[in-house]
């Protein structure tokens, strides 16, 4: 289990594409740059979607782990351009 602690948690488990990134987007919009967003998902598409989404928005995936069927991402929010 990760030692990283999050500022905001998005539990998108069981949700299917595109809802995990939509939930992450809504959360990230309300966060300050540099905060940590934790996203949990079970949709295997999230493995490629969350990193692509983060990169496109200037966020950074700082840690990623798989716990059972849960895909867990820790994302440091970037500065909006």
């Amino acid at each position: 289990m990760s030692e990283t602690t999050e500022d905001v948690l998005v539990d998108a488990r069981e949700l299917m594409c595109p809802m995990p990134v939509m939930a992450a987007t809504k959360a990230a919009r309300r966060m300050e740059p540099g905060q940590i967003l934790k996203v949990m998902a079970t949709d295997k598409g999230a493995l490629s979607d969350i990193p692509a989404w983060a990169e496109a928005n200037g966020h950074e995936v700082v840690e990623q782990e798989t716990v059972g069927t849960d895909l867990v991402f820790f994302i440091r929010t970037g500065t909006p351009d």
Binding site: L15, V21, T25, N57
Partner: protein
């Protein structure tokens, strides 16, 4: 008056520093490029299965930071009609790709009532798999400020009124859509 020339200690900058700086600056400039940040999608089909792709793609485009417009035209108007739940159906006839619980001859799938059976089956299958409903996708799209534009010409041809459509739907013509689309690197016809 001229600005003081900026002097930097050239020896302090390594090649790697320069590469990193150029990469960062390019990344920032590209993210600000209007073409990369704008998307235009045409939704022309009015069945339950074809209602999904334009809405999913519009939402995903908004999630990666794009301003998206979806132009609903011809049968695609069904998607933003107030009665979309009733109007969006799927028909097994002429759709050999549609999976059936048991193999069925075409004559059976053409029987009266099969369209609503197939539509219910598809909605249930999607709900079981936790795929969002069309209503949820439309609601999320609105939260993401996706512009939903109904084609005025086809609204008139089909005898609809503007009040027949969901709140927040805009009305426009092909030229208005093209004026948006020409600024977008992403244009999709569904």
């Amino acid at each position: 008056m001229t600005a003081e020339p900026v002097t930097t200690d050239q020896s302090a900058l390594t090649e790697d520093d320069v590469r990193r700086i150029v990469k960062e600056e390019l990344g920032t400039a590209l993210r600000k490029d209007t073409g990369m940040r704008t998307g235009a999608i045409v939704a022309s089909k009015g069945t339950l299965d074809w209602a999904y792709p334009p809405l999913i793609l519009a939402n995903a485009a908004a999630a990666v930071g794009m301003q998206v417009s979806v132009f609903f035209t011809f049968y695609g108007l069904n998607i933003v009609h107030k009665e979309f739940e009733r109007k969006l159906k799927v028909d097994p006839v002429g759709n050999p790709a549609m999976p059936m619980p048991v193999p069925m001859p075409d004559l059976v799938t053409a029987m009266p009532g099969m369209v609503s059976v197939a539509s219910r089956m598809m909605k249930k299958k999607f709900a079981d798999k936790k795929v969002s409903s069309i209503g949820e996708l439309i609601e999320t799209a609105r939260e993401m400020d996706v512009r939903l534009i109904a084609c005025q010409m086809t609204v008139d041809v089909f005898g609809y009124e503007q009040s027949d459509f969901l709140d927040g739907v805009e009305f426009g013509g092909a030229a208005a859509f093209m004026a948006e689309a020409r600024k977008s690197n992403l244009t999709l016809f569904v």
